[in-house]
């Protein structure tokens, strides 16, 4: 229970850091950290393959996205970053409190549900699901990646032209 709570707090903190920091580099580190914590949580919940996917997708795709974003934007100076971060934290300082408040209210209200958690997947089962039952989703993910490649290609080409 303590470890679960700690993982949750770490996950939310890393996610908030990712969103609130004004430095793209720190934001990228925050996102990687969020993904790593999420992976640990998934492993702990015995969703091993989902955890591997989370880690591999994040490790592969996020750097591509960030390289493209970095190449398209003008960096702030260190001073500007600090000033903007201060203003961001001032503006959103209540956000974690509100999130925790909503969570507590939901827990205290104790919504009744008859839902039962599905059993953890087994490796063999997941392989069957992926390659036999979810082919359409796999094709969809390939098409998304293809779309992403075109996005990066289009944006980089324009960048080269204007440079």
């Amino acid at each position: 229970m303590f470890l679960d709570l700690l993982s949750l707090i770490l996950l939310v903190s890393a996610a908030l850091w990712t969103v609130m920091t004004r430095s793209l580099l720190r934001s990228a580190i925050g996102l990687a950290l969020t993904s790593a914590i999420l992976t640990v949580i998934m492993f702990k919940m015995e969703a091993n393959l989902a955890a591997v996917f989370e880690l591999s997708v994040c490790a592969g795709l996020i750097p591509v996205l960030f390289v493209s974003v970095v190449s398209l934007t003008q960096p702030y100076t260190h001073q500007e970053i600090l000033e903007r971060m201060k203003s961001m934290f001032a503006r959103f300082r209540l956000l974690p409190v509100i999130l925790i408040g909503i969570g507590l209210i939901l827990v205290l209200l104790g919504p009744h549900s008859q839902a039962k958690l599905p059993l953890p997947e087994s490796g063999e089962n997941t392989r069957f699901i992926l390659w036999h039952l979810r082919q359409l989703d796999l094709l969809g993910q390939v098409i998304i990646l293809l779309g992403g490649v075109f996005g990066v290609e289009v944006l980089f080409k324009e960048r080269k032209k204007s440079a």
Partner: protein, 476 residues
């Protein structure tokens, strides 16, 4: 075999990008052929296309897909609008390499939208929605100007929020039903309709779809995205992308998964009426041609949602008919705005005037598009609006029926203002040497105008059959 509607655009992109000499020149013609074939396949319901054995290519492409009347309307709209958008690229994107990439992204978007229209599983639906969204971001930001990037950023941001809500909804459905199949979730929801988690999942999903549809008050991204996007992208976005990503999915989820409840009907009717009226009022105050059309789109989506909110077969059929009509007249109007922008280099309607003489085809077709959008008989838009109003009246939502009629009057008002300021009224001496736009913009405009007139004339003859085909969707 429905899977071909996803596989063919996907493999076309792969083939077009093979390092073969001259293959890039086939991109435009190939994409046009695909859009025409898609329309033909849908238009001929008994064609051999639908009878191909899904296992003909072995087990690797045997997807669980299905196309009912609603899906077929959407598939036809995708073919029609992508056809128009592809033609628009010829004049609005001068650089051939850029145009080639643009066509590739349109094909990826088409594969995504076809997947959305055919999916029978809520997670597959989500994945194909994301394909549509990713290709839309790229299309909006394509020109890399500041407004385009801002429009794309707003779309990414709000689409991201919608995605999170949708995924949370899917997770809750999965938790309760143990499956993501429409049929299984539907069966489980019927037995657990009072469960708090189900209500939460439904709520999250519906809000996500309101954002994707650009309905008020979730419309913040839409006018900027439509206005800033390249002309061909605006045609695709306004004509079909947001209608599929938001409105179609909403209808599909309501009829195949969630089912209508009095609370859902009330929410839909309220949001629909709010969008239909407020967006029409906002359109009245716009001076940018594309921005006015963007607000008009929000208003028309509001109309569609009013039809859906009636919760009846007639209302759903009216909504589907209006999705088709909206695809035709809004694509036409965005092509008209592209023609005007290409020739004048401006979208400010306050600067224009008297263009009807210099641009007769654009002027004539825009009148047809505007009148159809306003629901003037005998054009196509009249019939769908009539069906929606009758559905609302018959379902006992008479106040909303009156609001729908008021929305049409407002639509007519802002389009009359647009016509007067752009094509009639006092000519601007600065634009006295302006000529008609090229074939690439006038040809699809004429085709769409002819379709609007033709559909207007023939709708009364097929309306009963069309409405009856929706009975099975609602289990009637």
């Amino acid at each position: 075999m429905s899977a071909l509607l996803i596989l063919v655009p996907f493999f076309s992109v792969l083939i077009l990008n093979l390092p073969l000499k001259g293959i890039r020149k086939l991109a435009f013609g190939g994409a046009i052929c695909l859009s025409l074939l898609q329309m033909a396949a849908v238009f001929i319901p008994d064609s051999a296309f639908w009878k191909i054995n899904p296992h003909a290519f072995g087990s690797i492409f045997s997807f669980e897909l299905s196309a009912d009347s609603l899906s077929k309307v959407i598939l036809f709209c995708i073919g029609l609008v992508s056809f128009s958008a592809l033609f628009a690229t010829r004049q609005t994107l001068k650089e051939s390499a850029g145009r080639f990439n643009f066509i590739n992204i349109i094909l990826i978007a088409v594969a995504g939208m076809n997947g959305v229209a055919l999916a029978q599983d809520i997670f597959s639906l989500y994945i194909y929605l994301e394909i549509t969204a990713v290709s839309s971001f790229i299309l909006i930001a394509f020109n890399r100007d500041i407004l385009g990037l801002e429009g794309a950023f707003k779309y990414i941001l709000l689409s991201g929020v919608a995605t999170v809500l949708m995924l949370a909804g899917i997770a809750l459905f999965m938790l309760i039903a143990g499956s993501t199949s429409f049929a299984v979730i539907h069966a489980v929801l019927l037995n657990h309709n009072k469960d708090f988690l189900i209500s939460l999942g439904i709520g999250l999903f519906i809000v996500a779809l309101f954002i994707k549809s650009g309905l008020m008050p979730f419309h913040g991204w839409l006018p900027d995205a439509y206005t800033a996007a390249p002309a061909a992208a605006s045609v695709l976005l306004a004509g079909v992308v947001t209608k599929i990503a938001g409105v179609y999915v909403l209808i599909r989820i309501l009829v195949s998964v969630i089912s209508f409840s009095p609370a859902i009907k009330s929410i839909l009717l309220f949001v629909g009426a709010l969008s239909a009226i407020l967006a029409a009022i906002a359109a009245l105050t716009q001076s940018d041609f594309k921005r006015m059309l963007s607000y008009s789109s929000i208003s028309q989506v509001g109309y569609i949602i009013l039809g859906v909110g009636s919760g009846s077969v007639l209302g759903i059929a009216g909504a589907a008919l209006h999705i088709f009509n909206h695809a035709a007249f809004k694509s036409l109007l965005f092509i008209n705005s592209a023609a005007v922008e290409c020739q004048l280099g401006s979208r400010d309607i306050e600067e224009m005037g008297g263009l009807a003489k210099q641009m007769p085809v654009t002027s004539l077709t825009s009148i047809i598009g505007s009148l159809s959008c306003a629901g003037i008989p005998p054009l196509a838009g009249f019939w769908s609006k009539l069906v929606i109003v009758i559905a609302l009246w018959m379902a006992g939502f008479r106040a909303y029926a009156v609001i729908a009629v008021l929305g049409s009057i407002l639509t007519l008002t802002y389009f009359l203002i647009l016509q007067r300021k752009v094509f009639f009224g006092k000519p601007n001496a600065e634009f006295k040497d302006i000529k008609e736009a090229g074939f690439s913009l006038t040809f699809p405009a004429l085709i769409l105008a002819a379709l609007i007139i033709g559909a207007g004339i023939f709708t009364p003859f097929i309306l009963n059959r069309f409405i009856l085909s929706f009975n099975s969707i609602l289990g009637g």
